[in-house]
Amino acid sequence: MTHFAFPRLSNRVWKVWHRNKDVFMKTYKVNFLPPLLEPILYLFALGFGVGSFIDVIEGMSYPQFIAPALISISIMNSAFFECTYGSYVRMYYQKTFDAIIATPLSIEEVITGELLWGATRSLIYATIVLMVIAAFGLIELPSGLLIIPFSFIAGFLFATIGMCFTAISPNINALSYPTFLFITPMFLFSGTFFPLSLLPEPIQYFALAVLPLTHVVSIVRALTLANFSVVLLVSFAWIVLVSLVLFVLSVNLMKRRLMV
């Protein structure tokens, strides 16, 4: 079996999405709390706290600088953790995927539904963070609203990354490796809390080549400031292309794991 066979899909993928949405909505009050509180904590501690030592950074205030990073991080975390720990629990402990593939749905459709749901979670969380940040007056409107559709696309990318790790993890504890070796460094070194340009040049190139969050942060920052440049198209193309490749790869890796 090849790793890059394009999956055959139908609109039944949305049934899986619907299932996950139903579970999410059962506990929506708890689910909505973290994206509401977290950005406020970060804004006070880093934005207004640490930020009181910083006059301007790349022509803006420090809270303005980190606001798009907070949105980007919530995009990354919600899809990545949904499609690693969340999907792993459904796959391995709850046997949810086994139950679904006994119906007309195929494993390809199940995984695609999971990825779409991961992206949707990014959209939901990014929207909430966006509202908090807008309440602090740290965002240009209406261009900032474009972040909402963008968060789905970027969320899909992190969902596919997570799903690849889920497919190859021998057990749930092994998911700590991508979390600490990939997500945590990305959280800190993607132009989030200080400009990428402070890093040595080779590392900057490295970040742009393999850290998806750098591209997401650049785009979200441009949207919050209504300050666009052509370079952003490159970032956008990077995100779309890598998503597509990892989408196909993650579905095939999962198929290899589950269809034995």
Partner: protein, 253 residues
């Protein structure tokens, strides 16, 4: 005279399944006809579950031929799965939902309209005697209730073929008898049933025809009473005696 040529519900010929070098199902051939209850008997590890999974199109076969309703399992997964109801060996109810929602969510996977699903679910809750547990979460159900709910879930799409992998595993006699009653009633409605078990009594009571499997191979095939007649050494022999005689007394696990 009108001659109707009916395709068998399942037709397997030299069906084979390997996991790496290990041969789990070793060139088995069998045919299941419409409306019969067909049993797979065998000790643990005989290859029963593996065979069921190939029929369900969730585990690709390594070799041989396997057709369900005349359709190949490698090419018509979706079409075949629409016609199946499955009670898996391992419970896989959705712990995030109540009894009712488990059935409702499952009905969506079959594209069943909500209004119709509501009607069918009401009927099924009565059929498996779980109406009082409608709003209960899965973890609060007893083992017998879980098995009954899985049976109800397997019937949500009014399947033409019901596959039951050890339907009464781990249940007490009362719970087991309740499931048997349900299966008998389904049998009288003419639905084709394939079941695996290592409870001999279960096979003797329910099956029209059965095969005994061991080490991936089918060793005998026949009607329960015929097998007893053919292989029994004493007058009062049961299917259990036949089973032990054919598969030996060596412990498998």
């Amino acid at each position: 005279m009108v001659v109707t040529v009916t395709v068998p519900v399942i037709e397997a010929e030299d069906l084979k399944k390997q996991f790496g070098e290990f041969v789990a199902v070793d060139s088995v051939s069998f045919t299941v006809e419409e409306g019969e209850v067909f049993g797979f008997l065998g000790p643990n590890g005989a290859g029963k579950t593996t065979t069921m999974k190939m029929i369900q199109c969730v585990s690709p076969k390594t070799g041989g031929k396997l057709e369900v309703f005349g359709m190949g399992v490698s090419t018509h997964q979706c079409e075949i799965k629409k016609l199946l109801g499955v009670v898996p060996q391992e419970n896989n109810l959705d712990p995030d939902f109540t009894v009712y929602d488990n059935l409702m969510v499952y009905s969506r996977y079959f594209d069943i309209h909500r209004a119709r699903a509501e009607r069918v679910i009401e009927e099924l809750l009565d059929f498996v005697q779980l109406r009082e547990k409608k709003d209960t979460l899965i973890e609060q159900l007893s083992g017998g209730m879980k098995r009954r709910l899985i049976l109800a879930r397997a019937l949500i799409n009014t399947p033409r073929l019901l596959i039951l992998d050890e339907p009464t595993i781990g249940l007490d006699p009362q719970a087991r008898h309740l499931i048997w009653d349900k299966l008998k009633s389904l049998q009288s409605q003419g639905i084709t049933i394939v079941l695996t078990t290592h409870y001999l009594e279960e096979a003797a009571r329910l099956c029209d025809r059965l095969v005994i499997m061991d080490y991936g191979k089918i060793i005998v095939e026949g009607k329960p009473d015929e097998l007893i007649k053919e292989y029994a050494e004493t007058q009062s022999a049961t299917l259990e005696d036949v089973f032990l005689k054919l598969t030996g007394k060596k412990l498998r696990e």
